[in-house]
């Protein structure tokens, strides 16, 4: 029978690096997916996963099992991703076109749909980029990952009402930015 996360954590605390290897192998993939959704590119997502495990290794003494280990890791990963987004924005002050390739439509789409789809996807990418780190994260977790607001609040370190307000702001901004494409009043 596989040891639980908490059992492995105890072994790591006792100096067993192989137990940490098992945690890395167990959680790398889901962390990559979450990091990719927030950062928008694979290289950054890789860095986020790596930094997440390093921070978690450093901070294992503060892990107290109140949240599951996966949730705790996820929270660290989101913070790493937010740090990365913030530093990237401060540094570049612009959108790197090369990072949005994943948002381009499938090559199998018809030419008309490619044009419309490309414009729409670019608008979505721009609208997402205009969100603050917290807004983007809250929206990604709620909209794409279907995470309950309470869990998002745990990750962001905010109370339920504040979490709701973050999602509300994100949706309002997106709706406003996408209004030319949808014709929907804001």
């Amino acid at each position: 029978m596989q040891p639980s996360d908490n059992e492995l954590v105890e072994l790591v605390r006792g100096g067993d690096d192989d137990a940490f290897r098992q945690l890395v192998e167990r959680h790398s993939r889901p962390l990559f997916r979450s990091a990719y959704r927030i950062t928008g590119n694979s290289a950054d997502a890789d860095d986020v996963v790596q930094e997440t495990f390093l921070r978690s290794y450093r901070g294992l003494t503060s892990y107290d099992s109140r949240a599951t280990f996966a949730t705790w890791l996820h929270r660290i990963a989101i913070n790493c991703a937010l740090d990365l987004i913030d530093s990237r924005r401060r540094r570049e002050g612009r959108i790197d076109a090369g990072e949005d390739l994943s948002l381009l439509p499938s090559p199998a789409a018809s030419p008309d749909r490619v044009v419309l789809g490309t414009e729409m996807q670019r608008a979505i990418a721009a609208a997402m980029d205009a969100l603050t780190g917290n807004e983007r994260t809250a929206f990604v977790l709620r909209h794409f990952e279907g995470m309950p607001l309470e869990d998002i609040g745990q990750i962001l370190g905010t109370r339920l009402n504040a979490t709701k307000n973050t999602v509300f702001r994100a949706v309002r901004k997106l709706r406003h930015q996408l209004q030319p494409f949808t014709g929907s009043p804001t």
């Binding site: 100096g15 690096d17 940490f20 290897r21 890395v24 192998e25 790398s28 993939r29 990559f32 997916r33 990719y36 959704r37 928008g40 590119n41 694979s42 290289a43 890789d46 860095d47 996963v49 790596q50 495990f53 390093l54 290794y57 450093r58 003494t61 530093s87 401060r90 540094r91 790197d96 090369g98 949005d100 994943s102 948002l103 381009l104 729409m120 996807q121 979505i124 990604v140 709620r142 909209h143 794409f144 607001l149 709701k164 999602v167 509300f168 949706v171 309002r172 997106l174 709706r175 996408l178 209004q179 494409f181 949808t182 929907s184 009043p185």
Partner: protein, 276 residues
């Protein structure tokens, strides 16, 4: 719409909660079910949000977990040391070497402050000579913040030059059969240790842009340092893609150009651009 007159229309926030199926008071649900205006507004919101789809998330290949572990494993001893003194320690030669480099830089600054010939002497001062001089020279004499900044610029400038050279050499290689990258690997390993120290120094000094650049450089150096001595075309392409994806060579050149300007300037007084 008479059947819902006893309840106000939903507000925008309530529509968002309704779209995501969040728990709502019975009155809201009843109203939404019976009010054509609110149903239409919810449909308009859904028409927008339904179009916000995630780009396809790439699935990491089968070896992802192992590679991630390889990237982490060798760093754990250092993390343990940083976390506390209880665990056995390995030799700190690399860190000491990097620390020594910085110390030499500062001490060289003392010499320079005395002779007022900053940039020429930095290049000439040898570590051993600098150390010997330092033992005979009170550290408290005369170095100004500006001179210290200038010394750091020179040292970090060299680090950036060396890093850029390694990356450019690798990106110029043609992925064709097994390629020997022993030299680049060893240099990346050396640069890695000093990179961390300089990054920490940059952070301590509030030089966020420089710290960010060095932060970006680190995983690239890491990947090179831990690549096999003989890389396959795929492995080499993976390194090259990583270097190119980050645009790190371009960023290094930009920062290096700024650093050169700063070291040529008669006085270091503008440290807003990437500096340390």
């Amino acid at each position: 719409m008479n059947d819902h007159l006893n309840h106000d229309h939903l507000n925008q926030d309530e529509f968002i909660l309704a779209y995501y199926g969040e728990p709502a008071p019975d009155a809201n649900r009843d109203h939404l079910a019976s009010c054509a205006d609110c149903s239409a507004e919810l449909a308009r919101l859904a028409a927008v949000l339904d179009r916000v789809e995630a780009g396809e998330t790439p699935e990491p290949d089968a070896g992802y977990e192992s590679r991630m572990w390889q990237r982490l494993e060798w760093r754990l001893p250092a993390e343990r040391r940083a976390a506390g003194p209880a665990t056995p320690r390995r030799p700190l030669t690399r860190w000491l070497a990097a620390a020594a480099a910085l110390a030499v830089a500062f001490l060289a600054g003392i010499l320079i402050s005395r002779s007022e010939r900053v940039s020429q002497q930095v290049a000439a001062v040898k570590p051993a000579a600098a150390t010997q001089t330092a033992t005979a020279t009170p550290v408290s004499t005369g170095i100004t913040d500006q001179q210290r900044d200038r010394i750091l610029l020179v040292v970090v400038g060299d680090h950036i030059d060396d890093s850029e050279r390694v990356l450019v050499e690798l990106t110029n290689l043609t992925p064709n059969g097994k390629t020997d990258i022993t030299s680049e690997r060893e240099r990346a390993e050396d640069l890695l240790a000093s990179n961390r120290l300089y990054r920490r120094t940059a952070l301590d000094r509030g030089e966020e842009q420089m710290a960010t650049l060095l932060d970006e450089l680190e995983p690239v150096l890491l990947q090179i340092a831990h690549a096999p001595a003989q890389v396959s075309p795929e492995e080499l392409r993976s390194i090259q893609k990583r270097v190119e994806a980050k645009g790190i060579v371009f960023k290094l050149r930009v920062v290096r150009a700024d650093v050169r300007n700063d070291t040529r300037a008669p006085a270091v007084h503008h440290l807003q651009q990437p500096t340390i």
